[in-house]
Subunit: 317 residues, 2 copies
């Protein structure tokens, strides 16, 4: 069974790692949000791509979910001493990835090719694809004005109140040929428990991608458990955008794209509401602390995929 | 007394540090070769500027002469793991300088301004000036073809036989206004014991610089001691270029630009030959192991400067 996982950062990476254990690597493609990508002291930084790559390579920092385990910060300390910025916590080993990526991009390779080379060097056998080779930049309109995503996320720690989100460059961007082909050929699409607004919707907003996903069996895993996000500002964003702060609120956001939805066992009472959206609802343990829990959740997704039809195929349950 | 030191890497940095101890910092300007500068994995690297800056800042690696003391190599190791190059030994703290420099250059600052900021951040109070804000690249024609300087120097360890040296871009390059002004206002110019061919001659080859130096009292310190270079390929180059491999050979190379020349005590027998070139010859201890030896040599230069006239003033000794 060929599976495509749509992923943002930490939650997406963990579920992708579950599939990496559950499937043969050639059957797994992870399509990763690049709306968070940015330039910093001359380096092209792709936070979500790196989190997915490091997690699949088994070198991610398991405490934080991002960055490399046991990384050091010698460059960052020295950079501050020579007058450089220190607000973005660049580990030394992580920095090496950014240097190599930036150099390969400058040499004319597409981000898709660069990512493939870095994955190969780190021993990642599944396919990790940036959602696009074009530049798309997530902008967060807040009560304090519009902020670049990393400004909002890292420097301002998600404190400003969100009014809307836009993806600058999305109209002119195209999914890469690899992305379109992977979705078209997939037996199932899984939307990982990532932030719907800033991780998944940039992928779905690329011209043609939403329609391609609708043509395949697709399921999503709730990033909201017990009314709170496992990680990041998803719950705060739901609230500030006037949406229902719950797994059901996320399910409604994805209705029309997916046929099935997985809720955490803490949210069993919401299954009926999710089913009311025309979705196949499954309640299970979704919090992924161990490798085993990651794999179990992937298996639950695979089972659910077997029971749903494409949303644009006229098949209903 | 306002002194300008023309310097390459390690030897130049050590003598500059002698002057930094012997003079008030506002009276010292070090003009540094940038012909060795190159781009590596997207970073602008200026080896001689950094060696001078780190030495004056008191953070240089005293063993090697270049790099930062007790630097670590986490990024380099990780860069190799992601498929990047490892032939150029980039320390983590050193790398921070390259990142900051590259970012500031990209923001539109001149290399002179960037160097000034880095020096200020590291507490260097003397003026350190790149010889030019334009791009000049030293190329070494060898029996194995023309090599970029770092290729010749680092990757090939100076092994190929040198036939000639050229400075690509030198005709279109200009000394910075700061360089021209510092030389014009100097009470004396000191050519440091750096490699004549690849450290000092790029500076003198900039349009107008040789003439400006000739208009001031100027002395040089021999980089060749006992027929050998203290560091680097100067002796090997003299040999391969068919020149006399001795302090006297260097003195002849500089005749017409300097009025005085300092030889090491090991080369006392060559003083007469140097004097025969019309130069005021001084024999002293020139090997700079300690801070005190650096300062002593600077004082010897200051004394000699007081006894020489500009070469283009019609005054002879």
């Amino acid at each position: 069974m060929k599976v495509v996982v749509l992923a943002g950062g930490v939650g997406g990476a963990r579920l992708a790692h579950g599939f990496y254990q559950a499937l043969e690597p050639e059957n797994l493609t992870v399509i990763v949000n690049t709306g968070d990508d940015f330039d910093h002291i001359g380096l092209r930084i792709c936070p979500d791509l790196d989190t997915v790559t490091y997690t699949l390579a088994g070198i991610a920092n398991r405490e934080t979910g991002w960055g490399i385990a046991a990384d050091t910060f010698e460059v960052l300390a020295a950079l501050e001493r020579v007058g450089g910025p220190s607000w973005f916590r660049l580990g030394d080993r992580d920095l090496a990835t950014h240097l190599q990526r930036t150099a390969l991009l400058s040499s004319g390779l597409r981000l898709t090719e660069v990512t493939s080379r870095i994955c190969a060097a780190l021993g990642v056998k599944a396919r990790v694809l940036p959602m696009t080779d074009d530049t798309v930049a997530t902008k967060v309109l807040t009560t304090e004005g519009e902020l670049d995503f990393q400004d909002y996320f890292v420097r301002r720690r998600c404190e400003p109140v969100v009014q809307s989100i836009r993806f600058a460059g999305i109209e002119a961007a195209l999914p890469s040929p690899e992305v379109s082909e992977a979705i078209s050929e997939a037996d199932g699409i899984v939307i990982a428990p990532s932030n719907p607004f800033v991780s998944i919707e940039p992928i779905l907003a690329l011209p043609g991608v939403r329609e391609l996903v609708q043509s395949r069996p697709a399921v999503a895993v709730s990033p909201i458990v017990g009314g709170r996000a496992i990680k990041g500002p998803a719950a705060k964003m739901l609230l500030e955008l006037g949406l229902e702060v719950s797994a059901a609120g996320v399910a409604k956001r994805y209705a029309g794209v997916i046929g099935g939805f997985i809720l955490d066992q803490q949210d069993g009472s919401l299954a009926r509401e999710v089913a009311g959206e025309g979705l196949e609802a499954v309640v299970t343990q979704t919090i992924m602390r161990s490798d085993g829990e990651r794999e179990s959740l992937a298996v639950s997704c695979l089972e659910l995929l077997g029971r749903v039809a494409p949303t644009r195929g006229g098949v209903s349950h």
